[in-house]
């Protein structure tokens, strides 16, 4: 369809909107009830432990704004929810980096801000939040040794076949445990608090 530009106003400001943005807006509007609760569960997943009091609603809000203002174009062929999940993940990463820079500035470590390695290194706050989140996930599956093995493998970046080989699991055991994990995760993701 090309990139014919049309005009719309967003929050009273005239902006140009191309068809990729229109497609995204239309698809977001048409999300089903189940997709919307999936979207909330994804927002909760990515935003856990964010500093500065940011919650999942803030992250989802920002993702929608970026998609609708065209700053995050929806690539062709990518399912909408997967795309929005990626946008939210990126927003959370950006926020962690911003918080790290703020902390360095606050503590007078201005020299570190220019150094690229330090700039991208996670701060202690992020490390702690991540460690706490991992503890929570492990606690969630505490009664399921096979799920814990899979979680350990996934955290190490192993593939399904590598996890099966490493832990001596059959493919069937793996699939069954992943289904249990999915149910537990969704149950949890659907009930996690607003903040």
């Amino acid at each position: 369809m090309g990139m014919e530009r049309i005009f719309a106003r967003n929050r009273g400001i005239a902006v140009t909107v191309d068809h990729t943005t229109v497609d995204a807006a239309r698809a977001i509007r048409d999300l089903s009830d189940t997709d919307l609760v999936r979207l909330a569960a994804l927002a909760r997943l990515w935003s856990r432990g964010l500093p500065g009091g940011l919650g999942w609603t803030d992250v989802l809000n920002e993702a929608i704004v970026r998609v609708l203002d065209g700053s995050r174009p929806w690539p062709p062929g990518v399912p909408l929810l997967a795309f929005l999940s990626g946008v939210m993940r990126s927003i959370c990463d950006d926020h962690w980096r911003w918080a790290r820079r703020e902390a360095l500035t606050r503590h007078g470590d201005l020299a570190k801000l220019g150094a690229s390695a330090e700039d991208t290194a996670p701060g202690p706050e992020r490390m702690l939040a991540a460690a706490q989140a991992l503890v929570e996930v492990n606690r969630l599956f505490a009664g399921d040794p096979q799920a814990l093995k899979i979680i350990a493998g996934l955290s190490e970046g192993l593939t399904a076949s590598e996890i099966c080989r490493f832990y001596g699991m059959t493919e069937r055991d793996y699939d069954t445990a992943r289904k249990r994990m999915r149910r537990a995760l969704l149950r949890c993701g659907l009930t996690w608090g607003v903040r």
Binding site: M1, I6, F7, A8, R9, N10, V17, T20, T21, V22, D23, A25, R26, A27, R29, D30, D33, T34, L36, V37, R38, L39, A40, A41, L42, L45, T57, L60, N61, I64, L68, W74, P76, G77, V78, P79, L80, L81, A82, S85, R89, P122, R126, A130, A133, L134, V137, I151, L154, S155, E156, R178, M181, R182, R183, L185, L186, R187, G189, L190
Partner: protein, 82 residues
Amino acid sequence: MRKQWRPHIDLTRLSTALSEEILAATNQEVRRLHAETGYSIAAAAQDVRDLIAAASGEQGNPDPELVPAEGLYFSASCVRQH
């Protein structure tokens, strides 16, 4: 054995895998699990719709002037076709 534990890397890998589980869940699975929470799925979805409406600058029923002329109300697949 790794020299240094990097929990943020582990969590990112794990969250990526878990997000795929959320995406892979069937509608039936989502509905059944949501029913267990005791909160209506329609109400939960409406909360998210309200949030999206607020993010897109809409207040209640959108002003037709504020949306692209082509409109945003057509039925569309969730995967772009071009």
